[in-house]
Symmetry: D2
Subunit: 120 residues, 4 copies
């Protein structure tokens, strides 16, 4: 997460919000965040959300994740909200929405993720 | 791609191989490449494979991508092989396999991707 | 849809609810609805939701769909709520939630779908 | 499976082929097999492939499955080939390819599936 300059914005049980600046570092030729950076932030928010419901010392791994990229990630920051849809001892089902924040603070949905985490 | 130090290993029509070092930069606490880095390399290999079948000057965007992470990405390098499964004017269906290379060059499958690209 | 005895429960712009009885016809050995039937109902609800935002005479096709099955589909009826997350001229992003209704009317989430439709 | 008239064509360890007729029963308005039927056959082939590697008496459930529909399922029969990509005690990663057979026996890929099964 440090690679993309992410920071934690909010933590609640089963819900975590992360954000990261859209820098040339993670952007493609047009200045939009790359699919890989958008995925990384959304996946991490979902993973932390899963972790927030587990005993201390547990870790989680992504088993599988699907991302739909629905708009160009143009703006100054990416904001990813991860949530647990279905907790479980063996499998945790998660979703995340990634939004791009413009200079003026306006948020626009750019990607939706849905996947599965396991405690490890 | 430069963010994760990726380089092109092979380009053929409809098939592209990329690789990137597994550095602390893209690794999690256990030294395995992070799901985000694995995704980014696989998605890029798939995108370049789609691009390899298009007229010069075209660009492609990921519409959606699914990744199954099947083994820890432990080793010194990630190698991603992207291929076009079904070319199309409107939509291009792609797959990618990401492998981790150990010191001795042994390769191990770590992730499978399947998704859709569009020319833009 | 007639194969699984589905009926329309609600139609609103961008949102459609379908339901179908859980009969031995669509159930596996334990009396739970089969993943295929759950998928079919969710995918259809999502498709009709996409169709509800299009000019009359248009048809839609599923480009890709991901389903997470989160609980056994036990009960008397399946109820699928499809919604358009992001409309578009070329691609429509959809989601659906499938629930199982027990004898007493209690609803339980059994599956989440996320995918892409195209007008055809 | 009886609902869609499926039959087993081949069984080998980690690989199962199923087929089913494309009847009005499972077809949409244009005579193509519905996405739901295509999914059901592919998911079943993948599930049986997983089962083929397990101790007798075990059952498997689909945790999640992604399908890309790449061509209209036009023809007389659907043929689904499921295979285990990565066996495991807790999770089994599977893929399936669904093809449509024309009158003259020609096969055409119509869908690709990738997902996760668990023993239950």
């Amino acid at each position: 997460m440090t690679t993309i300059g992410a920071r934690i914005e909010e933590i609640a049980p089963g819900r975590v919000v992360l954000s990261a600046p859209i820098t040339p570092h993670i952007a493609q030729q047009h200045g939009f965040a790359h699919a890989g950076a958008t995925f990384a932030l959304g996946d991490s928010a979902a993973g932390y959300a899963a972790l927030s419901l587990m005993p201390e010392g547990t870790e989680v791994l992504t088993v599988e994740m699907k991302i739909n990229l629905i708009a160009p990630a143009a703006g100054t920051r990416l904001v990813a909200e991860g949530e647990v849809v279905k907790p479980g001892r063996r499998l945790v089902i998660v979703r995340a929405t990634v939004r791009a924040a413009a200079e003026d603070g306006t948020l626009r949905d750019v990607a939706l993720l849905q996947g599965t985490m396991i405690p490890s």
